[in-house]
């Protein structure tokens, strides 16, 4: 727990600053991590003493409802009515942004819905964790094989349905041909199988509409001159891990968040230009750079327009404690325990009189 009390001094006054719970929190979560992303919001609410209404994704409400059963039994018990899990259709969710009792709205999901909620939530503090089209830059000094294995996982785990899934990969021009060939080989080795078996690498996409959308975006890119190195096919809700190169920067699959198992690969020869290419996006969530060179790390950190820069690891690197969030269209505010707790508390200040106040009067 954070110490909620801080002693302050202003001129001849002593003061006490406390962090108080803001009040009712509206927590809206996406389908892709039905327990983890719920926990990212529910745990800080419980830690700060905020009542909350949780609205899980309509596609994946069962995990949240199972968690709700545990919360109903917990010790010490939660006060009756202090929380609720509301499975609801979007058309019925107006009160979560409009109701005056809501003091903090935490949303993870699509940018269209997120920004709309923010425009409606006049009285609530809002945290938005939205989309991205994450990029990695692999530098010459990093072992290519290691970087490609890491990138393969980042691009295709959870069938790419992760907001920091690798979507744009920049390889050094000298090793571009070798790299793209090796990446395609790695992608083709990924195993599709029963989801509850540890050796399974690839599962389905969340629904048929999502898989068909990815298929359409890939076909549009191919029609616009992209080269297919592997994948590109759909079987029901399964979409094959797909590696593309020569992708036009005007295509949806380059510009938008694909949220599917597709990675677009480009060659780079000038590091500054590679950074500029990463920044040439409306998204700004997380980028990774594979290098040991401290000057390149520093340049990347200074110039990249993203919430987090990861060195020597995948774009999907995330631990629950770290501040996590985006800039530009990727969102506003940060999650991560300490930062979520900050968002769910507000300062209350007690200013004490000077010690000689009675004499003065």
């Amino acid at each position: 727990m954070l110490d909620p009390i801080e002693e302050l001094h202003f001129h001849d006054r002593n003061a006490r600053l406390e962090k108080r719970p803001v009040g009712v929190c509206a927590l809206i979560t996406p389908f892709n991590f039905p327990l983890n992303l719920v926990a990212h919001k529910v745990a800080p609410a419980l830690a700060t003493g905020c009542p909350f209404i949780l609205k899980p994704a309509e596609k994946t409400p069962l995990t949240a409802l199972a968690l709700c059963e545990l919360l109903e039994q917990c010790e010490p018990p939660l006060p009756p009515d202090s929380f609720a899990v509301c499975v609801a259709l979007p058309k019925d969710c107006g009160p979560l942004s409009l109701d005056s009792s809501v003091r903090h709205l935490s949303f993870t999901g699509s940018p269209t819905v997120g920004w709309q909620l923010k425009s409606l939530a006049q009285r609530a503090h809002v945290t938005l964790e939205l989309g991205g089209n994450a990029a990695s830059i692999v530098c010459d000094d990093w072992p290519l094989e290691h970087a490609l294995k890491s990138c393969c996982t980042a691009a295709f785990a959870y069938s790419g349905q992760v907001c920091i899934s690798l979507q744009r990969l920049f390889l050094p021009s000298d090793s571009f041909q070798t790299g793209i060939h090796q990446l395609a080989q790695l992608a083709q080795q990924l195993k599709r199988g029963p989801l509850n078996e540890a050796q399974t690498d690839i599962g389905p996409m969340i629904d048929l509409a999502a898989a068909k959308r990815v298929e359409q975006w890939v076909n549009e890119a191919l029609a616009d001159g992209a080269t297919l190195h592997c994948g590109g096919s759909r079987n029901g809700t399964f979409f094959e891990p797909t590696v593309l190169s020569g992708v036009s920067h005007n295509t949806k699959i380059w510009q938008e968040e694909v949220f599917g198992p597709v990675v677009c690969v480009e060659a780079w020869s000038d590091f500054s230009e590679a950074l500029a290419a990463v920044n040439d996006s409306r998204w700004g969530l997380q980028t990774s750079v594979y290098t040991h060179d401290r000057s390149l790390m520093e340049q990347a950190w200074q110039e990249l327009e993203v919430g987090q820069v990861i060195i020597g690891d995948a774009t999907t690197f995330r631990v629950d404690e770290m501040p996590y969030g985006g800039v530009k269209d990727s969102g506003v505010g940060r999650e991560g325990l300490r930062w979520a707790i900050n968002a769910m508390t507000e300062p209350r200040l007690l200013v004490l009189p000077p010690s000689n106040a009675a004499e003065r009067s």
Partner: protein
């Protein structure tokens, strides 16, 4: 005016089998839940960090105790775990 459905079918992404039908909350019910939650604000705010900490530890332990069950639900409804 078309009536809103009162339940929501949840399907497995892998094979489209029906996993469950869950009750849908109406706009009025969400407003009611918000008002009820707002009524507990002072009670929750007055709890000590020690109480909240104990509660979080209990919940963490309970989730760990049901880890396999949660993993199965996540696999079923999200298609990945």
């Amino acid at each position: 005016m078309a009536q809103s459905p009162s339940t929501l079918p949840v399907y497995a992404p892998e094979d489209q089998r029906l996993l469950a039908s869950v009750a849908l909350a109406s706009e009025k019910e969400i407003s009611g839940a918000l008002q009820a939650a707002d009524g507990t604000r002072q009670v929750l705010a007055s709890e000590s960090p020690k109480v909240r900490s104990a509660r979080l530890k209990w919940i963490a332990k309970a989730i760990q105790g049901k880890a396999d069950s949660f993993a199965q639900i996540i696999c079923d409804e999200a298609g990945n775990a």
